[in-house]
């Protein structure tokens, strides 16, 4: 155990009682009592069905829930494993519920999970979100087996999602990460991952756990680290991803600031990795892909365009310090179009994102203000995407995302030329 990843004494004692295990599944949580029971049962069934011969451990790393989440984790259980076709249930299903320490956020929760996995010498570790409604026992197999049986270090998820779900992923994080580092990891901030012992130890030894990255940007940091530090990566198709209804208290601007801010920070520390990468290579996909029926979603395009239009009038003094004059003029001219004809061209969007990354690099304005001023632009682009794909099927939408990725790759020299060393 590294001195940099201390475990509370009581947790260490409980882990010692469990002894060595082969597979650890971690569930970071905070007030997820309504959904975590289903997740725990899926993990339990997954252990029994796919890893009956292995010693397994479920670790719930909780952020101080007040709704009884830890109690649900302790008591949730599949009443009769035979109903999920488990012939020989495991003798013991170990589970540990522990509060995490350190900065509030998913990163600190995962640090506790990883440290626990290292403490029990786990051969593979998987992480699943606590608010999943669509997780099945197969997810555990799909996240763990590529590590245990095929020797991969990092298993990223692949999902069937509603065409409008994951717009930050589709519009910024996936295409930008792909263009920067040259690997097509489709869900770099998916929330579910599988990790090998080697990657887990490598991540634990990185000096980021007391930083902002560990608080909220942990998913993209893990993906980027796995790519840039040369670990073997694959993707597993998990099926539909359905979360609990979103927390209305989660502010889009805050979310965008955290995710995109982390991507920009990682660009600073991995500049040598992305400057030399050209094009992009596919990443091996595992699992049986199938189409799923997804719940309809509601999109308020008018509100998005309202915010974009207001910003185009009011945020010019801020955007002037971020965007090139030509880009700013083009963005402002978009706001004059009627809703039906509104389109935010991919090229303009990519240039704007790159110019925001450059402004972040040269510290053009306060970081928080810079990232918050990206929100209206993102909403404008998202509204355009919704209008553009209103009648499109999943395949056509994926083609649009692919086109955007190509645009990011094509314009990458634009970023490199302006990036000051």
């Amino acid at each position: 155990m590294s001195a940099s990843t201390p475990l509370p004494e009581d947790l260490r004692t409980r882990l010692a009682e469990v002894g060595e295990v082969d597979v650890v599944v971690g569930i970071p949580s905070f007030n997820n009592a309504s959904t975590i029971g289903h997740v725990v049962r899926a993990v339990q069934a997954g252990f029994a069905k796919y890893f009956p011969a292995q010693r397994t451990l479920l670790v719930n790393s909780d952020g101080g829930s007040s709704d009884g989440t830890p109690e649900v984790v302790q008591t949730a259980s599949v009443a009769d494993l035979a109903t999920v076709l488990v012939a020989e249930p495991q003798k013991v299903v170990h589970r540990i519920v522990t509060p995490y320490h350190g900065l509030p956020g998913k990163g600190s929760a995962l640090r506790t999970v990883f440290a626990a996995a290292r403490e029990v010498n786990a051969r593979a570790c998987a992480v699943v979100d606590a608010d999943l409604r669509s997780i099945t026992p197969e997810w555990i197999d799909l996240l763990v087996s590529p590590v245990l049986r095929l020797g991969y270090d990092f298993v990223a998820p692949l999902y069937s999602r509603h065409k409008y779900d994951g717009t930050i992923t589709n519009g910024i994080v996936y295409p930008l990460t792909r263009a920067l580092y040259g690997l097509r990891v489709r869900q770099p901030i998916g929330g579910e991952f599988g990790l090998s012992t080697a990657l887990l130890a490598h991540l634990l030894d990185q000096p980021v756990w007391e930083t902002e990255v560990a608080s909220f940007g942990i998913d993209i940091w893990m993906t980027t680290t796995a790519i840039t530090d040369g670990f073997r990566i694959c993707q597993s198709f998990l099926g539909a991803k359905i979360h609990d209804a979103k927390d209305p208290g989660v502010d889009l601007a805050v979310m965008l600031t955290q995710v995109v801010g982390t991507v920009f920070l990682l660009m600073e520390s991995h500049v040598n990795a992305w400057r030399n990468a050209t094009g992009s290579a596919p990443v091996r996909e595992l699992g049986f892909e199938y189409a799923v029926g997804l719940e309809p979603v509601r999109v308020n395009v008018e509100r998005m365009l309202g915010i974009f239009g207001t910003a185009a009038r009011e945020l010019v003094p801020v955007w002037e310090r971020v965007l090139e004059p030509g880009t700013l003029a083009s963005v402002r001219s978009l706001a004059e179009a009627p809703q039906s004809a509104f389109r935010f061209p991919a090229e303009l969007w990519v240039k704007a994102v790159y110019e925001f990354a450059l402004a972040h690099h040269r510290k053009a304005i306060t970081r928080d203000h810079l990232l918050r001023s990206l929100t209206p632009l993102y909403l404008g682009r998202t509204a355009s995407f919704v209008l553009e794909t209103s009648d499109a099927g999943a395949g056509e939408v994926e083609a649009v995302v692919e086109g955007l990725c190509k645009e990011y790759e094509r314009l990458k020299p634009y970023l490199i030329e302006r990036w000051e060393v």
Binding site: T167, V173, P248, A253, R298, N300, V318, T366, R372
Partner: protein
Amino acid sequence: MGATFSERLLGALDVFFEGVMRFLPGLLAGLLIITVGVLAGWVVKAVARRALVVARFDRFCESAGLTTILSRADVRATPSALVASLLFWLILASSLMAGASALRVDVINRLIAESFLYLPRVLSALGILLVGFLLANFLSRAALLSAVNAHVPSPRIIGLVVKFLIAVLAFAMALEQLEIAKSIVLAAFIIAFGAVMLGLAIAFGFGGRDVARRVLERQFGDRGGEDDDDTFRHV
């Protein structure tokens, strides 16, 4: 009589030359101090400017919004040049005062002592104004961004109100620091602040009843049946 005249004349000249001889070293010392001060000021100015450029001080000021404030105040010099000039003038003013005090003239010494006693207050007031204007710009921009992202109507007004209130507060604090009409400044500030708030409340209540209703409904209303919000996930 003649002896008395020559004695008096010589005596007067003695006194004059004695005074001159007593004053001259002080004058020479004062001139020397000022000359050294000017030279030191030039050297410090040149070194400081170079060091600030190397330390990317101008870029820091640009990111902190200070450059914009200066340009709005029609100050064309770069922040590093400005700081270097400030150091030069501080050294020059100090050497002028030190040089003047070398003359050992009571009136000048008293004035210098009094100005030294008041100097900390002037510097504090300038500091308060500088911090106040920086804070006003920073928080005004933060308020503007939050208002735009929250789809609040007329976000610019919110930003301007924040900037105005902080600027007024900083100005009142600076005057209070200078001990200029303390009670009047305090009373004026309370009245101005109260008037702004009351004006905003009345304007919001009467002028923007519909807007107020929409904002309040959005913040506190029953969201159950509302179809205003998106239900898709951004990540």
